[in-house]
């Protein structure tokens, strides 16, 4: 049941995302660019931090940043 609710919730998020994409894609291309771009900026910055965790630490790297 829990998995089903999760599935329905995520499907709802997907439907909303598609709805926003269709509306924004047609009439608000720059709003759509902001949504996609901001998500990308956040994820790339986060990926950089996660990458750092693989580069430093005991037995890895030379302690230099």
């Amino acid at each position: 049941m829990r998995s089903f609710i999760k599935f329905v919730a995520l499907a709802g998020v997907l439907a909303l995302a598609l709805f926003i994409a269709v509306i924004a894609g047609d009439d608000g291309p720059w709003y759509f660019a902001w949504l996609v771009g901001t998500t990308m900026i956040v994820l790339i910055a986060a990926a950089g931090a996660v990458l750092m965790e693989t580069q430093v630490g005991p037995g890895r790297g030379d302690g230099e940043y």
Partner: protein
Amino acid sequence: MSVVDLSRLQFALTALYHFLFVPLTLGLSVMLASMETVYVITGKPIYKEMVLFWGKLFGINFALGVATGLTMEFEFGTNWSMYSHFVGDVFGTPLAIEGLMAFFMESTFVGLMFFGWDRLSRPAHLAVTYLVALGSNLSALWILIANGFMQDPVGAKFDPVTMRMQFTSIYDLIFSPDAQSKFVHTSIAGFVCAAMLVMGVSAYYLLGRRHREFAARSFRMAALFGVISSLAVITLGDALGRADYLLQSTKIAAIEGLWHTSKPPYEPWKIVALPNDRTQKDLFSIGIPYVLTPLITHTLTQPIPGILELEQKAKPRVAKGIAAVLALKDYATTGDEAALAAFRKNEKDMGYGLLAQRYAPGQDLAKITPAELPGIVERTARATTPNVFVEFWAFRVMMALGFAFLAVFAFGAYYSLRNRLERHPMVMRLAMWAIPLPVLASEFGWIVAENGRQPWTVFGWLPTFQSVSTHSVGYMIFSLVGFVLLYSSFIAAELYLMFRVARIGPGGPAPRPAGAGLAGAGLAGAPGLAEKIWQ
């Protein structure tokens, strides 16, 4: 100085003061969300420490941004009452939505973000931080939709009965090309400001070899955040430029110091020039050929109208506008349907007629004699151009700074990704000294947008000189001095608190020995005031 000049100066100063705080809030809220995402993914406490520390700087900035922003909404009513009457129905709507939806949302979740760490699960707290980021950017969105209406008045129509603009479509207002491109450009410019602050303060710690683990991670995230944001802000600035080319020809001509219509594709893009507004010529200019046409029009063939040609095109509109205003006056007095029909014929040029009132004898269009008319049309057409020198240089300073930030972020990201940052202190020093520059660039961007809108408050419809309230000069000077003193004290407080928090660094001040004072001692073994603040 006249009441109009003083009202403009007061609004410009309060907006520029307010805009010192806004970009950082927009960007820091998104950066905090990014940092907390890593905390939730990796579970490493250092990322929570990062959210807490940079969150303090966000909090200081947020509080002062709110304090300086609240007065501005009232300023529309107190100093710009004619403007508020004319477009209040349209302009007030996005402002009200901003307050009721975005600002309330942001303020509510800010409380949860600061005080909810022990009360919410990690994913729930992360969702709250994202909602703060969304709220602050939605706040900017509604303000810029309102501003978009001033630049490109769509979604409304003038009603000759009520003598004000009334809504025809909120959808057109929200999706106006100017509002869209301005929002994305301004919001992402805020991301650049925040990234530079985080990168610069982190560089300060790394140079002093303090909080290295904390600073290296913050620097890495900020550099990557900044490099993509800088690329985006440049791209989206181009989008805004194209919207201005299509909607506000006088602004684009002033930005480029273009006195005569361009000759595609050769027309050079002026790198430096000394435009003279009085003679309407450049004292000198240096440009790069073949750049201007594709830069502005995204083609190699379309010409860009020059200021002198735009002024010539404005002349028939002024003559029609005078006829429209006279017919409107007649209709308002008599209710005559023929007068209404005459007004409808030239309605879209009404703003030019209102602008001509400035040069009419006693500011009354009915008193213009046939002999005076050509001179008044000439002067009014010339007044449709904004100050070219200010526009030209404000744009170039903003743009040069934008490209400089991209270089600083790119070097920072490159050395950070290779874990060789500490071998390049020059990059860290550059990052540190560049902290205030993105905020400065944002201020110049605001000058480009609003100076370029002149002589209108609502582009093509309502002249600035018609928009002000009927205050005395003394009242305006008194309130201007009050604002300057109050807002300067806000900035002093912001700088003091930001420097203080940044100097102390993450983790708070070192514990003070017992008996070293109230802040260090605490009561009956409880944490002292300083520790409580830092917890």
